[in-house]
Subunit: 209 residues, 2 copies
Amino acid sequence: MSEFSNDFQADLLRLMRRRRDVRRFRTDPVDETLLRECLATFSLAPSVGLSEPWRIVRVQSEAARAAALANFEAANAAALDGYEGEKSCLYSSLKLSGMREAPVHLAVFCDETTPKGAGLGAQTMPEARRYSVAGAIAHVWLAARARGLGLGWVSILDPERLAQDLDIPQDWRLVAYLCLGWPETESDTPELELAGWERRLQDVPVETR
Amino acid sequence: MSEFSNDFQADLLRLMRRRRDVRRFRTDPVDETLLRECLATFSLAPSVGLSEPWRIVRVQSEAARAAALANFEAANAAALDGYEGEKSCLYSSLKLSGMREAPVHLAVFCDETTPKGAGLGAQTMPEARRYSVAGAIAHVWLAARARGLGLGWVSILDPERLAQDLDIPQDWRLVAYLCLGWPETESDTPELELAGWERRLQDVPVETR
């Protein structure tokens, strides 16, 4: 029934298992051609109404990276304040971003007012555009991982402050801040599971109506 | 540098190109084991704080499917009213969902208040949970496509009405309504492009800060 081999399908699952959120990166650079190949998969992702609303900003200057890092550190300190006792100790021991080490930083936005696609599919659920961006990031993530690269998604940020600091157009909304680079180690187990923060469910419950 | 072969990487890109939004399905059923294999990839997807906030509802009864279809048809008629002239003619000629034919319907929600993950990564950007669900759908989509199945994402719906009609818990928010089944035809070109609605960009622009 499928034009893709069983071997390919098995490898695809292996890739998905290997695709962990990486926070521990080596600092050596990522080849620009390799990076472009990964980013090109944005174009292969589905988007509502073919709106392709992803907007990618590479955060490269010292000032921009320092602003993003300070943003994360403030948000992370505030988040820590929300935990008590053992959970607080555990939280403070977690490494939750690879922003200091990762050679490539990408802030990914959704253009909320793009004329592309003429609004098709986004009248009752305009958030579908942001979901298209999130889905496209999954494509880039898998493509990067297949090439041996690691990616980490940082959401512990004040998105409005980041947009201000990076001088982002008014109508773009932050979806993700991505760190990309060569991972220090490989693992099939999420770091939060290794650290004892949370465990994965063993299955996917499906309700019926 | 990578443990995945060049052949695999080439096939992965081919899969991403093949992964089109499908609205034209055959009506024959999807084997339940195959469906479970596809849905199992939800568990392989990353999620903020390991919160696994996806909640999957299979829309199967005649009443539930009729309610969803009526919901789509009302939202689609309202959307049509927003276009004029040529664009209106073109919009009315588009087939924007395979809900009548697709054997499997899945409404996918995000549990906005799940205790799982203890809120990690979702303090300043609670929407990160919804983005985790959208990214997980990309995994399921690719896994389904690799098996020859087609998937279509319907966002032309009133999400609150759907949640009401399906008796969904208060704290679950609709992310996607998915149609799944065997596609009538295969294509690497999005239907909206074939129909002349919109064209894909040739590249992915990256700005630098």
